[in-house]
């Protein structure tokens, strides 16, 4: 753990390529949770074609489509900055396509394999099944000491984690990595990969603070009452989906309207 800097920099990598599913919100959440604790924080957007700064404390990547994902992987691999930053103590949150890019290899929709960055011991391939789409609940690995996580997954890739790799958690509702082993996501030290959108840190402030403390040390708690209300609703909706389908009640009307 490095000494707390005067201003914490959070790099949002390639928001225009890996920002399809609102995951840029994870950077917003991290920065605000620092500001609420009177720690100055900034979000640095890094666009494709620009050099990646190696001096940020946290790096955030999100989900995207196949072609932009392959482009992002090429850009990332062309620079040692992210690998150097992690070696220097930085944390990374990589969601969905971001998780796949940080692994050893990943396959695009056309089946073509691309090299990843190798920061996470996992590989992603495609199967013939439908995309895995829907609400997810996972119970985090006990070593992380986190409450259940809620999110929304939407991916065509199947990720297999290495025999010694640590998953982020075990699936309670949904699919997760879905190599059939019940795992979701992958953690390697301060590098966290997950399939959860929502964005995941907006729905799970404990995971946000876990990432922040991993680089800054202990932080004072915040009032998360409003987020807790959302968490309660989402966890309940995931576990009891039939109770959260309001369109069923007006289904007749909407059927006639054709939507």
């Amino acid at each position: 753990m490095s000494p707390v800097p005067e201003r914490v920099s959070i790099a949002l990598l390639y928001p225009e390529l890996l920002g399809t599913y609102g995951d840029g919100g994870n950077a917003t959440v991290l920065a605000q949770r620092l500001r609420w604790r009177n720690i100055p924080a900034e979000v640095v957007d890094v666009h494709a074609g620009e050099p990646i700064p190696s001096s940020c404390q946290i790096y955030v990547m999100g989900g995207g489509e196949d072609a932009p994902q392959a482009l992002a992987a090429r850009e990332l691999r062309s620079s040692p900055a992210l690998v150097d930053a992690v070696a220097g103590g930085a944390a990374v949150l990589a969601v969905c396509a971001g998780l796949q890019v940080l692994g050893q290899r990943f396959a695009a929709e056309d089946g073509k394999a691309h090299d990843g960055l190798g920061l996470l011991d996992c590989e992603t391939h495609r199967d013939d099944g439908p995309r895995r789409v829907g609400e997810v609940v996972i119970t985090p690995d006990p070593s992380l000491d986190l409450p259940d996580l809620t999110g929304y997954e939407n991916h065509g890739g199947v990720t297999t984690i290495g025999p010694d790799a640590q998953p982020l958690g075990r699936v309670v509702v949904g699919h997760g990595n879905d190599g059939g082993d019940g795992t979701e996501g992958i953690v390697n030290g301060r590098v966290v990969g997950t399939y959860l959108h929502g964005p995941v840190l907006a729905r799970n402030p404990a995971l946000a603070d876990h990432l922040l403390t991993s680089v800054l040390g202990p932080l004072e708690p915040l009032d998360d009452e409003e987020v807790e209300a959302l968490r309660k609703e989402r966890l309940h909706a995931a576990r009891h989906p039939h109770m959260h389908m309001p369109q069923l009640t007006s289904g007749w009307r909407r059927l006639l309207r054709g939507n």
Binding site: G49, E65, V133, A202, E226, L230
Partner: protein
């Protein structure tokens, strides 16, 4: 006949506007109903992620200057709805068709419209996002197979330009024609990777040119086509030098863009652009959008914004503080089940006023507003949400369900996504004598 009878029955029992079920019955009797009914009509199909309904309404107004017009009612933009609107049209009437972006290829193949107006393509339903690029590819194939159809395309949307054949010099301008319209669209995040080759698209900021910012793929030949018509402020400029001021009763720059696209579409059918613009200026509200309701003493203006691109425009329509804003968010099938897109909307711009979060996913919005530093409250009931907004404006903490508008009527902007808009409109107009359309 069976289709029309069922449609009448559906209206009579109050189940719907009847257009969809009537079309379904007709299609059940003859699968080629759309094709048969389209024969002999001049038609313009309008499609895209945002602005379909409004643009079709404006187009219908423009086409009405040359004779009878048949058009589909709002929302009935899938194939059964199209069949029904053609069915009800008078012989020889021009047809203005709003078509769902996922069904445009099918509609082009069946109708071979005189023109198609391609507005934009962007992320809308995140759980179906992969379909956006597929829509562009489907449009492209369908247009290539319908060489007699004139394309009116938004030159500032790379996905649309690719679908319209912009990077194929052999077809560009050689087919029956493409009219490129420079609209200066704001949302670009869904076109960062080239739809043609996957490389990066570069936008040359600060070099405004014929109504927009030049853009080009860094690797292949896809680039912003030279517009044949473009916007300068709210003037539509045509390549021959004519300049047509667009004055609408509908608010916002986005509707000026919609009107520009509609004028270009109407011109394909021989409508005089000056007359088209004048006819459009009489359109007031479109399927409840921009409608002002009197709710418990507050004047509530309804706006639709269903995705980040729509919000990029809606934020420019919302009146400045202290006007309270109520935002309704649902995540039904028609909205997309994942509301993560809320984090792509710069809600920070709403600071300095009260925002009431409502709808089935109002709690997701409340958390988003918290992180945006916007003063807000959560109220799932639509009518109560209006009362809370009105009371907040009056500065009173004594919130009653009847609202507290004070001596001056509270002005409120109510923005909702697709199904929340329908729910809110129903809730605010039904059951209460106070809810009447206001002028």
């Amino acid at each position: 006949m069976a289709g029309r009878a069922i449609a009448d029955a559906s209206r009579w029992v109050g189940a719907g506007e009847g257009s969809v079920i009537g079309g379904r019955v007709t299609l059940a009797i003859d699968q080629r109903a759309l094709e048969l009914m389209a024969a002999g009509h001049q038609s313009v199909a309008v499609s895209g992620t945002n602005g379909k309904t409004t643009t079709t309404r404006l187009l219908a107004a423009a086409l009405s200057t040359r004779g009878p017009v048949s058009t589909n009612s709002a929302g009935a933009n899938l194939i059964p709805g199209l069949v029904s609107s053609l069915f009800r049209g008078r012989a020889g009437a021009a047809v203005a068709l709003e078509v769902d972006e996922g069904h445009l290829a099918e509609a082009i193949a069946a109708v071979h419209p005189t023109a198609v107006v391609l507005l934009n393509l962007s992320r809308d339903q995140l759980d179906r996002f992969g379909e956006v690029r597929r829509h562009a590819a489907d449009w492209r194939l369908a247009l290539a197979a319908s060489p007699g159809t004139v394309v009116v395309a938004n030159a500032d949307d790379p996905l649309v330009c690719w679908a319209a054949g912009a990077c194929e010099p052999a077809t560009n301008g050689q087919r029956c024609g493409v009219t490129w319209v420079g609209t200066g669209q704001r949302w670009r995040a869904d076109a960062s990777a080239c739809p043609n080759c996957g490389s990066r698209i570069r936008w040359t900021e600060g070099r405004g040119e014929r109504g927009g910012v030049p853009w080009a793929c860094t690797s292949c030949t896809l680039a912003r086509p030279r517009p044949d018509a473009w916007l300068e402020g709210s003037d539509l400029v045509l390549a021959d030098g004519r300049r047509l001021p667009i004055h609408l009763q509908l608010p916002g720059r986005v509707n000026v863009s919609n009107a520009a696209m509609a004028v270009a579409g109407a011109m394909v059918l021989g409508v005089d652009p000056g007359r088209a613009v004048r006819a459009m200026s009489r359109v007031r509200a479109v399927a409840g959008r921009y409608q002002v309701l009197n709710v418990g003493g507050a004047r509530v203006r309804l706006l639709l914004a269903k995705n980040p691109a729509g919000w990029a425009e809606a934020l420019g329509l919302i009146r400045p503080p202290p006007t309270p804003v109520i935002i309704g968010i649902n995540a039904g099938v028609a909205d997309g089940r994942d509301p993560s897109w809320l984090w792509d909307v710069p809600f920070e711009q709403l600071r300095g006023r009260l925002v009431v979060a409502t709808g089935e996913r109002g709690r997701d919005l409340a958390v988003r507003l918290r992180y945006a530093g916007v003063r807000h409250t959560y109220e799932p009931d639509y009518r109560k949400a209006v009362a809370v907004g009105a009371a907040g404006l009056a500065g009173g903490s004594n919130v009653s369900a009847r609202g507290a508008a004070g001596p001056k009527q509270a002005e409120i902007d109510f923005v909702a996504n697709y199904t929340s808009f329908q729910d809110a409109r129903r809730a605010l107009t039904s059951g209460a004598r106070g809810a009447v359309p206001a002028r």
